[in-house]
Symmetry: C2
């Protein structure tokens, strides 16, 4: 449980790909989809959403495609996930709205809101660059990720 949707996965993979190919001016959804073997049309939609939110810039037409609108280092995993999967709520009942119709008190959501924030914090602390940099076999860039090095049992 507690999974990201595949769309979010796809989105992260695509952004990572873009971060790893800064040379290419713009990459088409199909290129990325083919690279990873994921449904092109679905990925296209994901990228469209990311564009709409401003994380990507697109341009149509031949040799069109997408490019990061900001540096990979400044784009957090949280932003991507939020754009694709919507707001992050660990509990089934969200706090503000009327959604929690459980009788007197859905006594669980208050404490879990903290957990929620913690998770969001972790996600915010990871940038696309961090993810891309991660497994570059080459030398430099192997610096650890201080923000993520929590609680490894």
């Amino acid at each position: 449980m507690l999974r990201l949707t595949k769309k979010a996965d796809y989105g992260l993979m695509a952004l990572k790909y873009l971060a790893e190919h800064p040379d290419s001016v713009s990459v088409s959804a199909k290129d990325i989809a083919d690279t990873y073997g994921i449904p092109a049309q679905l990925l296209a939609k994901v990228l469209q959403r990311l564009t709409k939110v401003g994380l990507l810039r697109s341009h149509a037409g031949m040799n069109g495609g997408y490019e990061l609108s900001r540096e990979a280092r400044t784009i957090s995993a949280f932003e991507v996930i939020h754009a694709i999967d919507g707001p992050l709520f660990i509990t089934s009942c969200t706090k503000g709205s009327k959604s929690c119709d459980l009788e007197p008190n859905c006594t669980i959501k208050e404490p879990l809101a903290r957990v929620n924030d913690s998770i969001a914090g972790v996600l915010k602390s990871i940038s696309i660059h961090d993810m891309a940099d991660y497994e570059l076999p080459s030398g430099r860039g192997a610096e650890p990720h201080p923000l993520v090095s929590l609680t490894r049992t």
Copy 2:
């Protein structure tokens, strides 16, 4: 996104309830279900699973019901969620198994495994007692939760 299932919510609520009623020797699923207005049979199943896993002790028959098998302080939210919703994987493709059929490399899961661990850590750091203690209107027990006080923006 990134939601717990309702079953997990129900389970947490029920454990919290049990933690708040240590006086009662054992509480029936129906009692709890009625208190929170959740489907009794569904909650029953959740409690059965928690019993199977050893977090609860049950006893059938009149005035039967459930009780915590350990102190609330020693039961983590993680255990409950894991028992009900299964293992915690943030990525759609889990690392060890053959599940990631995305062509060459599902390049995303490695970095996200860290995030996964962080989240698990947060969940492990919260006990049922923490959750129960949380909103007791009475005086004592208002001590903060150092383990959870991460990254509140």
